[in-house]
Subunit: 198 residues, 2 copies
Protein backbone atom coordinates (compact mmCIF):
# COMPACT_ATOMS: atom_id res chain seq x y z
CA UNK A 1 0.00 0.00 0.00
CA UNK A 2 1.16 3.52 -0.74
CA UNK A 3 0.79 5.28 2.59
CA UNK A 4 1.08 9.05 2.31
CA UNK A 5 4.75 10.02 2.35
CA UNK A 6 6.00 12.15 5.23
CA UNK A 7 5.58 15.76 4.20
CA UNK A 8 8.85 17.28 3.08
CA UNK A 9 7.80 20.77 3.99
CA UNK A 10 6.57 20.09 7.53
CA UNK A 11 9.27 20.07 10.21
CA UNK A 12 9.15 20.21 14.02
CA UNK A 13 9.57 23.61 15.67
CA UNK A 14 12.60 24.39 17.85
CA UNK A 15 11.93 24.70 21.57
CA UNK A 16 13.35 27.95 22.99
CA UNK A 17 11.95 27.93 26.54
CA UNK A 18 9.52 25.99 28.72
CA UNK A 19 7.72 27.01 31.90
CA UNK A 20 5.39 25.28 34.38
CA UNK A 21 2.29 27.39 35.01
CA UNK A 22 0.11 25.24 37.30
CA UNK A 23 0.27 21.89 39.09
CA UNK A 24 -3.21 20.38 38.73
CA UNK A 25 -2.54 17.10 40.58
CA UNK A 26 -3.36 14.71 37.69
CA UNK A 27 -1.69 16.96 35.09
CA UNK A 28 0.52 20.05 34.81
CA UNK A 29 -0.16 23.14 32.70
CA UNK A 30 2.94 24.26 30.79
CA UNK A 31 3.88 27.02 28.38
CA UNK A 32 6.49 26.51 25.69
CA UNK A 33 8.13 29.08 23.41
CA UNK A 34 8.98 27.68 19.99
CA UNK A 35 10.37 28.90 16.69
CA UNK A 36 9.51 27.63 13.23
CA UNK A 37 12.58 26.59 11.19
CA UNK A 38 10.46 27.26 8.09
CA UNK A 39 9.35 30.85 8.71
CA UNK A 40 11.48 31.93 11.67
CA UNK A 41 8.28 32.91 13.51
CA UNK A 42 8.16 32.49 17.28
CA UNK A 43 5.11 31.75 19.38
CA UNK A 44 4.03 30.73 22.87
CA UNK A 45 1.94 27.57 23.15
CA UNK A 46 0.09 26.16 26.17
CA UNK A 47 -0.23 22.44 26.79
CA UNK A 48 -1.07 19.78 29.35
CA UNK A 49 1.79 17.57 30.56
CA UNK A 50 0.54 14.22 31.88
CA UNK A 51 1.59 10.64 32.55
CA UNK A 52 0.25 8.21 29.97
CA UNK A 53 -3.28 6.86 30.38
CA UNK A 54 -4.72 3.39 29.71
CA UNK A 55 -8.18 2.07 29.02
CA UNK A 56 -9.31 -1.54 28.97
CA UNK A 57 -11.65 -3.43 26.65
CA UNK A 58 -12.53 -6.26 29.05
CA UNK A 59 -14.55 -9.17 27.63
CA UNK A 60 -16.06 -11.92 29.81
CA UNK A 61 -16.29 -15.57 28.83
CA UNK A 62 -20.01 -14.98 28.14
CA UNK A 63 -18.95 -12.37 25.51
CA UNK A 64 -20.00 -9.37 27.55
CA UNK A 65 -18.18 -6.03 27.70
CA UNK A 66 -17.35 -4.67 31.14
CA UNK A 67 -18.56 -1.04 31.19
CA UNK A 68 -18.51 1.51 33.98
CA UNK A 69 -20.80 4.42 34.70
CA UNK A 70 -19.45 7.43 36.59
CA UNK A 71 -19.79 11.18 37.11
CA UNK A 72 -17.16 13.24 35.26
CA UNK A 73 -15.99 16.63 36.51
CA UNK A 74 -14.82 18.00 33.13
CA UNK A 75 -18.12 17.61 31.30
CA UNK A 76 -20.25 17.74 34.52
CA UNK A 77 -22.27 14.70 33.50
CA UNK A 78 -22.61 10.95 33.96
CA UNK A 79 -20.86 8.87 31.29
CA UNK A 80 -20.74 5.24 30.21
CA UNK A 81 -17.11 4.21 29.64
CA UNK A 82 -14.63 1.38 29.93
CA UNK A 83 -12.25 1.02 32.90
CA UNK A 84 -9.03 3.02 32.78
CA UNK A 85 -6.79 5.56 34.42
CA UNK A 86 -3.29 6.92 34.79
CA UNK A 87 -0.15 4.79 34.33
CA UNK A 88 1.76 5.18 37.60
CA UNK A 89 5.53 5.64 37.66
CA UNK A 90 7.22 2.24 37.30
CA UNK A 91 4.16 0.59 35.72
CA UNK A 92 3.83 -0.70 32.17
CA UNK A 93 0.55 0.06 30.37
CA UNK A 94 -0.39 -3.62 30.90
CA UNK A 95 0.27 -3.33 34.67
CA UNK A 96 -1.89 -0.22 34.86
CA UNK A 97 -4.66 -1.87 32.84
CA UNK A 98 -4.77 -4.88 35.20
CA UNK A 99 -4.73 -2.62 38.27
CA UNK A 100 -7.42 -0.21 37.04
CA UNK A 101 -9.68 -3.06 35.90
CA UNK A 102 -9.41 -4.74 39.30
CA UNK A 103 -9.87 -1.52 41.31
CA UNK A 104 -12.78 -0.18 39.29
CA UNK A 105 -14.69 -3.40 38.61
CA UNK A 106 -13.37 -6.24 40.81
CA UNK A 107 -12.44 -8.27 37.69
CA UNK A 108 -8.97 -9.82 37.46
CA UNK A 109 -7.60 -10.34 33.94
CA UNK A 110 -5.85 -13.61 33.04
CA UNK A 111 -4.63 -12.20 29.72
CA UNK A 112 -3.85 -8.60 28.73
CA UNK A 113 -2.67 -7.56 25.24
CA UNK A 114 -2.15 -4.11 23.74
CA UNK A 115 -4.50 -3.28 20.85
CA UNK A 116 -3.29 0.21 20.01
CA UNK A 117 -2.54 3.68 21.31
CA UNK A 118 -3.68 7.22 20.59
CA UNK A 119 -2.63 10.78 21.33
CA UNK A 120 -5.60 12.14 23.33
CA UNK A 121 -5.03 15.52 21.68
CA UNK A 122 -1.60 16.21 20.15
CA UNK A 123 -2.42 19.93 19.88
CA UNK A 124 -2.59 20.49 23.65
CA UNK A 125 -1.71 17.25 25.53
CA UNK A 126 1.65 15.48 25.46
CA UNK A 127 0.82 11.90 26.50
CA UNK A 128 -0.42 8.61 25.03
CA UNK A 129 -3.48 6.54 25.87
CA UNK A 130 -2.91 2.80 25.48
CA UNK A 131 -5.83 0.45 24.83
CA UNK A 132 -5.48 -3.04 26.27
CA UNK A 133 -7.68 -6.07 25.67
CA UNK A 134 -8.36 -8.01 28.88
CA UNK A 135 -9.71 -11.57 28.73
CA UNK A 136 -9.85 -14.69 30.94
CA UNK A 137 -11.60 -12.58 33.55
CA UNK A 138 -12.42 -13.74 37.06
CA UNK A 139 -14.35 -11.89 39.75
CA UNK A 140 -12.02 -11.13 42.65
CA UNK A 141 -14.57 -9.36 44.81
CA UNK A 142 -15.46 -5.73 45.40
CA UNK A 143 -14.20 -2.54 43.86
CA UNK A 144 -11.36 -0.67 45.54
CA UNK A 145 -12.05 2.95 44.64
CA UNK A 146 -10.12 6.17 45.18
CA UNK A 147 -11.57 8.72 47.62
CA UNK A 148 -13.48 10.63 44.96
CA UNK A 149 -14.56 7.73 42.73
CA UNK A 150 -18.16 6.50 42.57
CA UNK A 151 -18.44 3.86 39.86
CA UNK A 152 -21.12 1.38 38.80
CA UNK A 153 -20.21 -1.70 36.75
CA UNK A 154 -22.47 -2.80 33.89
CA UNK A 155 -22.16 -5.73 31.48
CA UNK A 156 -23.18 -5.34 27.85
CA UNK A 157 -23.51 -8.20 25.35
CA UNK A 158 -20.73 -7.68 22.81
CA UNK A 159 -23.24 -8.13 19.97
CA UNK A 160 -24.89 -4.84 21.05
CA UNK A 161 -21.72 -2.72 20.84
CA UNK A 162 -22.43 -1.20 17.41
CA UNK A 163 -25.96 -0.33 18.42
CA UNK A 164 -24.69 1.37 21.58
CA UNK A 165 -22.18 3.39 19.54
CA UNK A 166 -24.74 4.33 16.87
CA UNK A 167 -27.17 5.46 19.58
CA UNK A 168 -24.54 7.93 20.81
CA UNK A 169 -24.48 6.33 24.28
CA UNK A 170 -20.68 6.26 24.31
CA UNK A 171 -19.36 9.82 24.15
CA UNK A 172 -15.79 9.64 25.55
CA UNK A 173 -13.44 9.96 22.54
CA UNK A 174 -10.81 7.69 24.10
CA UNK A 175 -13.43 4.98 24.62
CA UNK A 176 -14.68 5.39 21.04
CA UNK A 177 -11.05 5.08 19.84
CA UNK A 178 -10.58 1.98 22.00
CA UNK A 179 -13.58 0.34 20.35
CA UNK A 180 -12.23 1.13 16.88
CA UNK A 181 -8.97 -0.65 17.79
CA UNK A 182 -11.03 -3.53 19.17
CA UNK A 183 -13.16 -3.78 16.03
CA UNK A 184 -10.17 -3.53 13.66
CA UNK A 185 -8.01 -6.04 15.48
CA UNK A 186 -10.45 -8.49 17.10
CA UNK A 187 -13.69 -8.45 15.09
CA UNK A 188 -12.57 -7.61 11.53
CA UNK A 189 -9.25 -9.44 11.99
CA UNK A 190 -9.47 -11.80 14.99
CA UNK A 191 -6.17 -13.52 14.22
CA UNK A 192 -4.30 -10.39 15.29
CA UNK A 193 -5.29 -10.47 18.97
CA UNK A 194 -4.69 -14.21 19.18
CA UNK A 195 -1.21 -13.82 17.69
CA UNK A 196 -0.39 -11.03 20.14
CA UNK A 197 -1.52 -13.14 23.09
CA UNK A 198 0.66 -16.11 22.15
Amino acid sequence: MALPEPGNGIVPWRTIAREELADCRVFTLKKVTRESPTTGRRGEFFYIDSNDWVNVVAVTEAKELVLIRQYRHGSDEITLEIPGGIVDHGETPADAARRELLEETGFEAGTVVELGRVRPNPAIIDNWTYTLLATDLSRRGDQSLDDHEEIEVELLPLAELDQLLRAGEITHALVVSAFLWYKLHCIDNPAHAVEQAQ
Copy 2:
Protein backbone atom coordinates in the same frame (compact mmCIF):
# COMPACT_ATOMS: atom_id res chain seq x y z
CA MET B 1 -32.13 -3.59 22.42
CA ALA B 2 -31.63 -3.48 26.16
CA LEU B 3 -29.14 -0.65 26.59
CA PRO B 4 -27.62 -0.52 30.05
CA GLU B 5 -29.99 1.38 32.34
CA PRO B 6 -28.77 4.63 33.84
CA GLY B 7 -27.10 3.78 37.13
CA ASN B 8 -29.37 4.50 40.05
CA GLY B 9 -26.50 5.06 42.41
CA ILE B 10 -24.48 7.50 40.29
CA VAL B 11 -25.54 11.14 40.58
CA PRO B 12 -23.87 14.42 39.54
CA TRP B 13 -21.88 16.27 42.17
CA ARG B 14 -23.00 19.72 43.43
CA THR B 15 -20.86 22.66 42.35
CA ILE B 16 -19.82 24.80 45.33
CA ALA B 17 -17.33 27.21 43.73
CA ARG B 18 -15.53 27.80 40.45
CA GLU B 19 -12.37 29.77 39.71
CA GLU B 20 -10.40 30.68 36.57
CA LEU B 21 -6.71 29.87 36.99
CA ALA B 22 -5.15 30.66 33.60
CA ASP B 23 -6.19 32.07 30.22
CA CYS B 24 -4.36 29.95 27.63
CA ARG B 25 -5.75 31.66 24.49
CA VAL B 26 -7.40 28.58 22.94
CA PHE B 27 -8.65 27.29 26.31
CA THR B 28 -9.00 28.33 29.96
CA LEU B 29 -7.79 26.36 32.99
CA LYS B 30 -10.41 26.28 35.74
CA LYS B 31 -10.78 24.83 39.23
CA VAL B 32 -14.12 23.72 40.59
CA THR B 33 -15.03 22.71 44.14
CA ARG B 34 -17.73 20.06 44.25
CA GLU B 35 -19.54 17.93 46.81
CA SER B 36 -20.86 14.41 46.36
CA PRO B 37 -24.56 14.07 47.28
CA THR B 38 -23.83 10.37 47.91
CA THR B 39 -20.97 10.63 50.41
CA GLY B 40 -20.92 14.33 51.34
CA ARG B 41 -17.23 14.42 50.41
CA ARG B 42 -15.83 17.62 48.91
CA GLY B 43 -12.99 17.91 46.44
CA GLU B 44 -11.25 20.35 44.11
CA PHE B 45 -11.06 19.37 40.43
CA PHE B 46 -9.10 21.00 37.61
CA TYR B 47 -10.42 21.14 34.06
CA ILE B 48 -10.04 22.77 30.67
CA ASP B 49 -12.85 25.07 29.53
CA SER B 50 -12.99 25.38 25.74
CA ASN B 51 -15.28 26.23 22.85
CA ASP B 52 -16.44 23.16 20.94
CA TRP B 53 -14.19 21.70 18.27
CA VAL B 54 -15.02 20.18 14.86
CA ASN B 55 -13.25 17.80 12.54
CA VAL B 56 -14.13 16.96 8.96
CA VAL B 57 -14.14 13.68 7.06
CA ALA B 58 -13.87 15.14 3.55
CA VAL B 59 -14.27 12.72 0.63
CA THR B 60 -13.57 13.70 -2.98
CA GLU B 61 -15.56 12.47 -5.98
CA ALA B 62 -12.65 10.11 -6.74
CA LYS B 63 -13.24 8.50 -3.27
CA GLU B 64 -10.16 9.99 -1.67
CA LEU B 65 -9.91 11.23 1.91
CA VAL B 66 -8.52 14.73 2.42
CA LEU B 67 -5.80 14.44 5.09
CA ILE B 68 -3.49 17.09 6.52
CA ARG B 69 0.00 16.80 7.95
CA GLN B 70 1.15 19.30 10.55
CA TYR B 71 3.44 19.85 13.53
CA ARG B 72 1.65 19.67 16.90
CA HIS B 73 2.89 21.56 19.95
CA GLY B 74 1.30 19.29 22.59
CA SER B 75 2.97 16.06 21.48
CA ASP B 76 5.96 17.83 19.81
CA GLU B 77 5.65 15.75 16.65
CA ILE B 78 4.27 15.71 13.13
CA THR B 79 0.85 14.10 12.79
CA LEU B 80 -1.43 12.96 9.98
CA GLU B 81 -4.98 14.15 10.69
CA ILE B 82 -8.19 15.42 9.12
CA PRO B 83 -9.04 19.13 8.89
CA GLY B 84 -10.62 20.73 11.94
CA GLY B 85 -10.48 23.42 14.56
CA ILE B 86 -12.41 25.55 17.03
CA VAL B 87 -16.06 26.51 16.55
CA ASP B 88 -16.05 30.32 16.70
CA HIS B 89 -18.76 32.24 18.56
CA GLY B 90 -21.87 32.52 16.38
CA GLU B 91 -20.91 29.54 14.19
CA THR B 92 -22.68 26.19 13.98
CA PRO B 93 -20.48 23.08 13.84
CA ALA B 94 -21.32 22.84 10.12
CA ASP B 95 -20.20 26.46 9.54
CA ALA B 96 -16.93 25.80 11.35
CA ALA B 97 -16.38 22.58 9.39
CA ARG B 98 -16.82 24.37 6.04
CA ARG B 99 -14.54 27.22 7.14
CA GLU B 100 -11.75 25.00 8.53
CA LEU B 101 -11.83 22.72 5.49
CA LEU B 102 -11.53 25.70 3.15
CA GLU B 103 -8.80 27.46 5.20
CA GLU B 104 -6.68 24.37 5.79
CA THR B 105 -7.03 22.63 2.41
CA GLY B 106 -8.57 25.00 -0.17
CA PHE B 107 -11.50 22.59 -0.67
CA GLU B 108 -15.06 23.97 -0.58
CA ALA B 109 -17.77 21.52 0.52
CA GLY B 110 -21.07 21.36 -1.37
CA THR B 111 -22.66 19.17 1.32
CA VAL B 112 -21.90 18.91 5.04
CA VAL B 113 -23.70 16.52 7.44
CA GLU B 114 -23.03 15.72 11.08
CA LEU B 115 -21.92 12.11 11.71
CA GLY B 116 -21.52 12.21 15.47
CA ARG B 117 -19.90 13.95 18.41
CA VAL B 118 -17.58 13.01 21.26
CA ARG B 119 -16.38 14.40 24.54
CA PRO B 120 -12.61 14.80 23.96
CA ASN B 121 -12.06 13.87 27.61
CA PRO B 122 -15.02 14.27 30.00
CA ALA B 123 -12.68 13.88 33.01
CA ILE B 124 -10.78 17.11 32.34
CA ILE B 125 -12.28 18.96 29.32
CA ASP B 126 -15.81 20.42 29.13
CA ASN B 127 -16.46 20.67 25.38
CA TRP B 128 -17.68 18.56 22.47
CA THR B 129 -15.96 17.64 19.21
CA TYR B 130 -18.39 17.33 16.29
CA THR B 131 -17.51 15.18 13.28
CA LEU B 132 -18.91 16.37 9.95
CA LEU B 133 -18.90 14.57 6.61
CA ALA B 134 -18.04 16.90 3.72
CA THR B 135 -18.77 15.86 0.13
CA ASP B 136 -19.34 17.52 -3.28
CA LEU B 137 -15.90 19.09 -2.90
CA SER B 138 -14.43 21.66 -5.24
CA ARG B 139 -10.96 23.21 -5.18
CA ARG B 140 -11.25 26.92 -4.42
CA GLY B 141 -7.57 27.68 -4.50
CA ASP B 142 -4.88 28.02 -1.88
CA GLN B 143 -4.91 27.50 1.84
CA SER B 144 -5.56 30.47 4.11
CA LEU B 145 -3.61 29.60 7.24
CA ASP B 146 -3.31 31.24 10.65
CA ASP B 147 0.02 32.84 11.58
CA HIS B 148 1.36 29.73 13.27
CA GLU B 149 -0.09 27.05 10.97
CA GLU B 150 2.06 25.06 8.52
CA ILE B 151 -0.08 22.38 6.89
CA GLU B 152 0.38 19.99 3.99
CA VAL B 153 -2.62 18.44 2.25
CA GLU B 154 -2.53 14.76 1.22
CA LEU B 155 -5.14 12.64 -0.51
CA LEU B 156 -5.60 8.98 0.49
CA PRO B 157 -7.74 6.45 -1.41
CA LEU B 158 -10.65 5.62 0.89
CA ALA B 159 -10.02 1.91 0.32
CA GLU B 160 -6.72 2.27 2.21
CA LEU B 161 -8.23 3.77 5.38
CA ASP B 162 -8.32 0.55 7.41
CA GLN B 163 -4.73 -0.22 6.48
CA LEU B 164 -3.65 3.28 7.54
CA LEU B 165 -5.44 2.83 10.89
CA ARG B 166 -4.04 -0.67 11.46
CA ALA B 167 -0.52 0.58 10.70
CA GLY B 168 -0.89 3.11 13.53
CA GLU B 169 -0.34 6.05 11.16
CA ILE B 170 -3.33 7.92 12.59
CA THR B 171 -2.70 8.67 16.27
CA HIS B 172 -5.01 11.61 17.11
CA ALA B 173 -7.88 10.16 19.19
CA LEU B 174 -10.40 12.63 17.82
CA VAL B 175 -9.48 11.63 14.27
CA VAL B 176 -9.73 7.92 15.16
CA SER B 177 -13.18 8.63 16.68
CA ALA B 178 -14.20 10.52 13.54
CA PHE B 179 -13.29 7.51 11.40
CA LEU B 180 -15.35 5.19 13.63
CA TRP B 181 -18.40 7.44 13.10
CA TYR B 182 -17.64 7.45 9.39
CA LYS B 183 -17.33 3.65 9.24
CA LEU B 184 -20.48 3.05 11.32
CA HIS B 185 -22.68 5.52 9.47
CA CYS B 186 -21.31 5.58 5.91
CA ILE B 187 -19.58 2.26 5.26
CA ASP B 188 -21.45 -0.24 7.45
CA ASN B 189 -24.75 1.64 7.04
CA PRO B 190 -24.55 3.99 4.05
CA ALA B 191 -28.28 4.81 4.07
CA HIS B 192 -27.78 6.84 7.25
CA ALA B 193 -25.59 9.57 5.74
CA VAL B 194 -27.81 9.82 2.69
CA GLU B 195 -30.91 10.24 4.88
CA GLN B 196 -29.20 12.94 6.92
CA ALA B 197 -28.22 14.82 3.78
CA GLN B 198 -31.77 14.91 2.43
